[in-house]
């Protein structure tokens, strides 16, 4: 009986630790799928933003802006206009915070925002070697980075982008969905964190 209990515990632990990507089969890249569907361009847009993190709720307006020097800026303001943070992503891959209010100015918060928005902006997919995998009805294109792997995941026929993901050590960390119209003008962007409670929902604002 004790042995059975021990085995059950081990089984639960093993299942708990199992890779979210263990089912993937590495396959040869063929055709022009990655180039055709890579989410590299997102047009300058304002979004109505809603953030739920660890039981707290924040809302505001988020601007994604393509700058003339090909860098990208992500600015989050309150509905009443106060700027919470302004993040800059250069075309060379460097990142810096242009401004951030005290309440957001924590290393963990900035790192999370950097990774989330880099994924949305398609930056991990630039100039890196791609590895192709199949799993179920999806095709995974993985791009290894220092701190994990970024995936963009398409349908089998490469007709549509299903989602974007960050993984680390086989664990799925973040998923980005763009329900409705996709890149380059996603009507909606949903970011889900899987290792702690955080959801970001962005709804594109049609300016008058």
């Amino acid at each position: 009986m004790r042995c059975l209990l021990f085995e059950s515990v081990i089984a639960v632990l093993l299942i708990g630790c199992a890779s979210d990507y263990a089912h993937l089969q590495k396959t040869q890249a063929s055709g022009d799928c990655p180039e055709k569907i890579l989410p590299l361009i997102i047009e300058t847009s304002w979004y109505d933003a809603s953030v739920d993190v660890l039981g707290r709720h924040i809302s505001g307006l988020l601007l994604i802006k393509n700058m003339p020097d090909n860098s990208k800026r992500v600015v989050f303001t309150s509905e009443a206009g106060l700027t919470f943070f302004d993040l800059s992503f250069s075309k060379e891959g460097t990142f810096h915070t242009v401004s951030v209010i005290k309440q957001f100015d924590r290393k963990a918060v900035i790192n999370t925002l950097q990774k989330d928005f880099a994924l949305i902006l398609g930056l991990p997919f630039l100039n890196r070697t791609v590895e192709r995998y199949t799993g179920g009805d999806d095709v995974y294109f993985g791009f290894k980075e220092k701190n994990g792997t970024a995936y963009f995941i398409t349908s089998k026929d490469c007709a549509s982008l299903q989602r974007l993901e960050w993984s680390d050590g086989g664990k799925r960390l973040v998923t980005v969905h763009t329900p409705g119209s996709g890149y380059p003008t996603p009507a909606m962007i949903e970011i889900d964190h899987h290792t702690y409670s955080m959801k970001i929902k962005l709804t594109r604002i049609e300016k008058e």
């Binding site: 809302s59 601007l63 302004d86 709804t203």
Partner: protein, 223 residues
């Protein structure tokens, strides 16, 4: 020689222009961003008038247009909505287009409602909310000149008074470099509020179609 004289005259004339332009710039520099306004000389009289004029206003119902300008990014977003105020400390700001968002301040309580959720805040438990609440009330009630949170300079043109408010408290200085309140001379109500951030970004709320002292239900501020 004549040639030399001529060029000397040209140089002199050019210098004169430079001096003139610099003089104009220096004389205007004090309130360069508030063209057409000059300082109010009798501040005490203004303060009395402002308090007395505002005291006659028991309620305001108005539309507004808000423009947020991100200067360095050459981006702006304009939103519109409705504003209600009832003496002495009830305010409702409702953004309608192009997004919906509602803020209700009712005494010590505040409600923030977006598309997804609503947050109820006890203003007393949060110093920043307390200050923002107070700024809003002070600006509408005409008591902003008594505020310890700002140094206020008062200017005027034909139609409006301009109150340039420089935050003195550390918490407000983190967010704003100045807040500029324009007050209609005819009824001493806010015509616009401009909030300038350290980064150079600004948000201006322009009030229009103001209806004063009308009857509307208290339910507007209920939550």
């Amino acid at each position: 020689m004549r040639m030399f004289d001529k060029s000397a005259k040209v140089v002199k004339a050019r210098n004169l222009w430079v001096v003139l332009v610099v003089t104009i710039l220096i004389s205007g520099a004090g309130h360069a961003q508030h063209q057409g306004y000059h300082s109010v000389t009798d501040l005490a009289a203004f303060k009395e008038q402002f308090a007395a004029g505002s005291a006659k206003v028991s309620s305001i119902e108005s539309s507004f247009t808000q423009e947020k300008v991100l200067t360095a990014l050459t981006e702006k977003i304009t939103s519109t909505g409705k504003f209600w105020f009832k003496r002495s400390n009830r305010v409702r700001i409702e953004y309608i287009k192009p997004y919906t968002y509602t803020m209700i301040m009712n005494g010590d309580k505040m409600l923030l409602r977006d598309d997804q959720k609503e947050n109820r805040v006890n203003v007393r438990s949060n110093k920043l909310f307390q200050q923002i609440n107070q700024i809003m009330i002070d600006c509408v009630q005409g008591t902003v000149l008594d505020s310890k949170d700002f140094n206020v300079a008062v200017l005027e043109d034909e139609r409006t008074y301009l109150l340039e408010m420089i935050p003195t408290s550390k918490s407000l200085r983190e967010f704003f470099s100045t807040i500029v309140l324009k007050v209609d001379k005819k009824d001493f109500t806010a015509a616009s509020i401009e909030m300038n951030e350290k980064s150079g970004d600004s948000t201006t709320i322009l009030f229009k179609d103001k209806k004063l002292n009308t009857q509307f239900p208290d339910a507007v501020f209920a939550f």
